[in-house]
Symmetry: C2
Subunit: 114 residues, 2 copies
Amino acid sequence: MPRAATTSDVFNAVAEPKRREILALLIQERDVGGIVAAVGLRQPSVSKHLRVLRDVGLVRLRRRGRHVFYRTEPAAIRPLHDWAKTFERFWQHQLLRVKERAEAKVSNTRKEIP
Amino acid sequence: MPRAATTSDVFNAVAEPKRREILALLIQERDVGGIVAAVGLRQPSVSKHLRVLRDVGLVRLRRRGRHVFYRTEPAAIRPLHDWAKTFERFWQHQLLRVKERAEAKVSNTRKEIP
DNA sequence: TTGACACATTCCTATACAGGAATATATATT
DNA sequence: AATATATATTCCTGTATAGGAATGTGTCAA
């Protein structure tokens, strides 16, 4: 079985670096031409990335005449954030242990010096 | 160009749901057999997922005789967390606006009642 | 109406993938 | 040494890309 479709969930959609770049860009609304100018890709590739982002709800669009303006939908990133946050307390534990070891070492060094 | 390799970065590695499941599982150290029993996959598939997670630093291993014990390396998830957190203030803005609209509505309703 | 412009979609291709089956490697047991 | 156990790797296959090229669609302008 191949990897899940990029359109299936947010995790797959943001696995592509260019799409993350586009998401960061679209915190400020831009039309497709503006995105093409900003990232180093041809217009059809950009449109395809936008389609993926749209399908998982990571961007919204607004049509104005011939132009289509896209903007990031930040709330759609929350599931990813919440998942990562699940591990936060564990890496904090790690940092604490590192700190404790460092302090213990200092303490030992002090004992050794006299 | 195909999708980037799963081994290239943390974002690609966690794009696969089973790997996220394994990461959650390995907060508590387990051997491969234990993982196989927990997730519904054959041993070779599990070993391959572990290889990917290992290559991007998301898990560490400890050999004990014939058994290999894996555990999640929570700190390796931080880049993902930090990236998602970049958008936190924007979705908070959204929530604030929703709240403001709701309060404005209540206020209007009150004005209409008398 | 005829272009011109902005964007989206389709078709093509090389590549990466995930699981299954078979096999290899390493360690423990007898 | 021979065998059993635990895990890793290799080979195979159907599927999902991501970008390029070509084409389709909708809107504005003259």
